[in-house]
């Protein structure tokens, strides 16, 4: 769709790691009692994934579920699937107190790639990046804003931030990734 405009319009910076805007994903914010079977069912139907452990991420064939809070998940699926999946979730949880919203446009994912991703992130977040395991999702502070950070492997970091500060976060990460700033501590 030509009308679609992501926050960073595909921006990219190559320093001693690469920083770039990831393909926009469809996102559903789900608040519910995560212990209920119906919730597990709805999440599975939408993503193919199970309910993640606290601070976890679980992957299914249609998408993934990120643990955001004890009563909150973020489901990441294909953008085009959103209207249908959202309706499904709402339908599945019809009789359960819950909140499910399309929040696809509200957040931006920035990818950081390279051998030094941990180090670059360690310049801007108080999380222990050296020991953060791939698959652990940390909602935390990145420079002066909130963000969720996780590694999918040792050389790929995902940073999820609010759309309005996407440029800020991108700039902050780019400055941190500038050549000459290598720390070499981890």
């Amino acid at each position: 769709m030509s009308d679609l405009q992501s926050a960073l319009q595909g921006a990219r910076f190559d320093g001693y790691v690469s920083v770039f805007e990831a393909q926009p994903a469809g996102m559903i914010q789900l608040r519910a009692d995560l212990a209920e079977d119906a919730v597990a069912h709805a999440v599975h139907r939408a993503t193919g994934a199970t309910i993640p452990q606290p601070l976890g991420l679980s992957t299914g064939d249609r998408g993934e579920a990120l643990w955001m809070a004890p009563d909150e998940l973020l489901l990441r699926v294909l953008t085009d699937a959103i209207p249908e999946l959202l309706a499904d979730v709402q339908d599945d949880l019809r009789d359960h107190h819950h909140l499910a919203l399309d929040v696809s446009a509200m957040r931006t994912e920035i990818r950081v790639e390279g051998a030094a991703v941990r180090e670059v992130l360690a310049k801007v977040t108080p999380v222990d990046m050296e020991t953060l395991k791939p698959g652990t999702v940390r909602r935390t502070r990145l420079a002066q804003v909130a963000a969720a950070i996780w590694l999918s492997n040792d050389e790929t970091a995902h940073v999820l931030c609010f759309r309005s500060v996407a440029t800020y976060v991108f700039d902050v990460l780019s400055v941190s990734a500038r050549k000459g700033g290598e720390v070499g501590a981890f």
């Binding site: 606290p54 601070l55 004890p70 108080p126 940390r138 909602r139 935390t140 502070r141 909130a146």
Partner: protein
């Protein structure tokens, strides 16, 4: 620069991920309440030089409010616990008493006074 354990998401959170919310275990006084009660609910504070029960929000993390028992001089943290609690867990009270024998929290009255 505090680190507090968020009892909801299990993270040992850096102070900069958190936002403080003042004294914990205040009783809300609404319409019809006595002037003194209302004044003390809104303004009068324990402000102890010693162990204090206080509210925190894991603002940049899971967003949940929790309570912490912290010493305002030594900065020792005796424990954190969910905000949906009327009184501090006994084990935390015990821990405070161990660190500070004879300690007593005014609002807990005699209950809070441990040997």
């Amino acid at each position: 620069m505090l680190i507090l354990h968020c009892p909801y998401c299990g993270v040992d959170a850096d102070e900069t991920e958190l936002s403080p919310g003042g004294e914990a275990h205040l009783t809300r006084h609404g319409p019809g309440s006595d002037d003194t009660d209302f004044e003390s609910y809104l303004f009068m504070r324990e402000n102890p030089k010693g162990p204090q029960f206080e509210r925190w929000r894991h603002a940049m993390g899971c967003g949940k409010w929790f309570h912490a028992a912290r010493h305002t001089v030594t900065m020792q943290v005796f424990g954190t616990y969910p905000a949906q609690t009327q009184r501090p867990p006994q084990e935390i009270l015990d821990r405070i008493s161990a660190a500070q024998p004879g300690w007593r929290w005014r609002d807990l009255g005699d209950e809070g006074q441990r040997a």
